[in-house]
Symmetry: none
Subunit: 213 residues, 4 copies
Amino acid sequence: MAPAKKNKHNEKYHRIIRAATKIFAKKGFFKAKVSDIAKEAQVADGTIYLYFENKDDILISLFEEQMLLVLENMRQQLSKEDNAAKKIERFALTHLKLIESNKNVAEIIQVELRQSTKFMKEYKNERFMEYLNLIADIIEEGQKGGVFNKAIIPDIAKRAFFGALDEMSRFWVLSSRKKYDIETAAEQISGYFLNGFMNYTPSPLKKAVLSGK
Amino acid sequence: MAPAKKNKHNEKYHRIIRAATKIFAKKGFFKAKVSDIAKEAQVADGTIYLYFENKDDILISLFEEQMLLVLENMRQQLSKEDNAAKKIERFALTHLKLIESNKNVAEIIQVELRQSTKFMKEYKNERFMEYLNLIADIIEEGQKGGVFNKAIIPDIAKRAFFGALDEMSRFWVLSSRKKYDIETAAEQISGYFLNGFMNYTPSPLKKAVLSGK
Amino acid sequence: MAPAKKNKHNEKYHRIIRAATKIFAKKGFFKAKVSDIAKEAQVADGTIYLYFENKDDILISLFEEQMLLVLENMRQQLSKEDNAAKKIERFALTHLKLIESNKNVAEIIQVELRQSTKFMKEYKNERFMEYLNLIADIIEEGQKGGVFNKAIIPDIAKRAFFGALDEMSRFWVLSSRKKYDIETAAEQISGYFLNGFMNYTPSPLKKAVLSGK
Amino acid sequence: MAPAKKNKHNEKYHRIIRAATKIFAKKGFFKAKVSDIAKEAQVADGTIYLYFENKDDILISLFEEQMLLVLENMRQQLSKEDNAAKKIERFALTHLKLIESNKNVAEIIQVELRQSTKFMKEYKNERFMEYLNLIADIIEEGQKGGVFNKAIIPDIAKRAFFGALDEMSRFWVLSSRKKYDIETAAEQISGYFLNGFMNYTPSPLKKAVLSGK
DNA sequence: TATGAATGAGAATTCATTCAT
DNA sequence: CATGAATGAATTCTCATTCAT
């Protein structure tokens, strides 16, 4: 009975997704009107409902679509590197470049992702977990290769690393002018983590004392 | 003309703030109804407007109040440590404990803070900047003491560190069950950063190669 | 952004205008609820806002529509007469007949027109000025024809004449039963003014004394 | 049980009346807030209700008070003249001067009188009728003295004359700048009516034809 | 498929009035 | 008498969604 997302490969479907990305980024999910999206997509209000179940569904679909692209892009970038350390650096740079090149997507992932994760309890956000797990995979790879300390818990580290990059992005997305360029930020952040992962000791203070620093 | 917060130290003012914290955390700012807050605070709807200008003002006031407490608490905790490294560890632990002990506040800082920063362009969120700058101060202290590498940019590092902790909190806030305990997470995250800050080199890969690792 | 009166010639637009005329006349602008108007017009509350910007706009639009009709009608009536004196008589009769035949419109013009002129400072009420100026035109015509005294100031006289008719109408509109019929009142009032205009002297008392009356 | 207007001669009672006059004139009855009046009168909101039953009662009391003054003043002025014609002139001048000297009262009589007459069906507005009847009395006096034509119906003429003056006042009250001075307007308007009353014929056109004009 | 006019539930805010002090 | 904090009913306007064309 419900129309359900008919024909995902229809051109209008993507026009609406693109329009929604723009509008949600500008106004936020709650303040964005379905009619705003329709106008931006140059379709009638009712047409939206031929492709999406409701307003929530637009947001979820948008995530899915964008995360698919982001994931695909990140996987491709990571495949260019052959060691965990370089992959960490590549991840940081790729992630921040994505934010820079596509502010709208970034803003939605930043702000609305959190909202949505909250208000749509049923939405599992599996793509986002996949994205996080790319980091966990790198860390495990580094641990297996003996480059990263085995005491590091990948499940925690992946969030810490993502969080660090994400907070940096948020700053950029919201402040509009950047004090530091992408490369510097990426180098700094991956630098903290790489050095941290490589030299990790559960009690760095003790180690510091021992090593005489 | 506007009634304006007549008496910040009024008991009702705080009852409303507490109620709003609970309701915003449960439903999110947009889905929370002013009448929900009124009911929770056991005041009439209209009473809310004797203490707050509008719904937005409740959220902003709530931030201000909570951040003041959070800041005060964090400053006190940090004052117990006499070196930068220990302060980093203390910051991580204190921050995560705060989240654990006060999920509602955490959730609002997590989710609604971002929303609000976005939709209330005029709201500068200075308390949050103060909080971030506590981290920058520690890093600079560490750099001056020669413990942290001077190449670290405190303005970037503060965000990275906060972001790492924040993402971890988000996970807890939203997932309700914790795989890892507070202490472990705090130790891990401060460990990454401490080791990273102490051993920082802009190109850790080169260093690694040179050192024969 | 605003929907704005999408289609003035739409049937619903006129249904709403008619409903509003009735409701405003019965309850007055401030006591009339938009939902009352909607119910009377047999449309949903929201539909009102497809055709009008807000409640004020309903009132203003209603004026414009009605005054257009009133003006048109009055112009047509006046064109039937070929001299200023007869036009004055015709004006009085036409105006009072209008009131009798359409109490609702009359009541709104009587009561709400004044309110609105006051609370909507920006609304210039040009149609009403046009209506008043029909009278000024007649007076000037009479002065040019030598029938009305040249000392009469049309700008004052037009208001005096309109005010006289208007006060009479108000009485009828509000008291619901008429002591005198339309024709008598029209004859009386136009009689005062015609005799006054034709025999006008700035100091009638002196003239009276001189003429021995 | 109802407090009812306690002690009319209390100083606060009059302070509130004065404040209400100012506020109603500025904002109109419906837009005026009781708390505005309280602030203007420098009393607490609740104090208003010690002297008035409710908001409507403030308006009604205000009328009564003001009309009493207006009536008293007009009676005194009229008593200075010993013939009907001069009384008509005096009435016009006095009425318009009142408007000029007390814009707030004028505005309320102008605008709110009408509103109130409408929305408070039970309020008979007897003072206003008394005021109108001062005019009827003059006309009858004039008719008895043989100065005014006996065909004039005082009950109609009183409204016509008052309406003429009233419309003129309305213009002044609302437009804030005056094209003509009080004396000119008073002279013009009383001139129309005096000449009209003195030379009145039910069919002035016929008379004009007969007299060869 | 596509439209967009129509719907009507829903929510923030206001303000006359009360009453405990 | 006087206060003014508290109340909560009342009302405008919005906007996601539907459905006849």
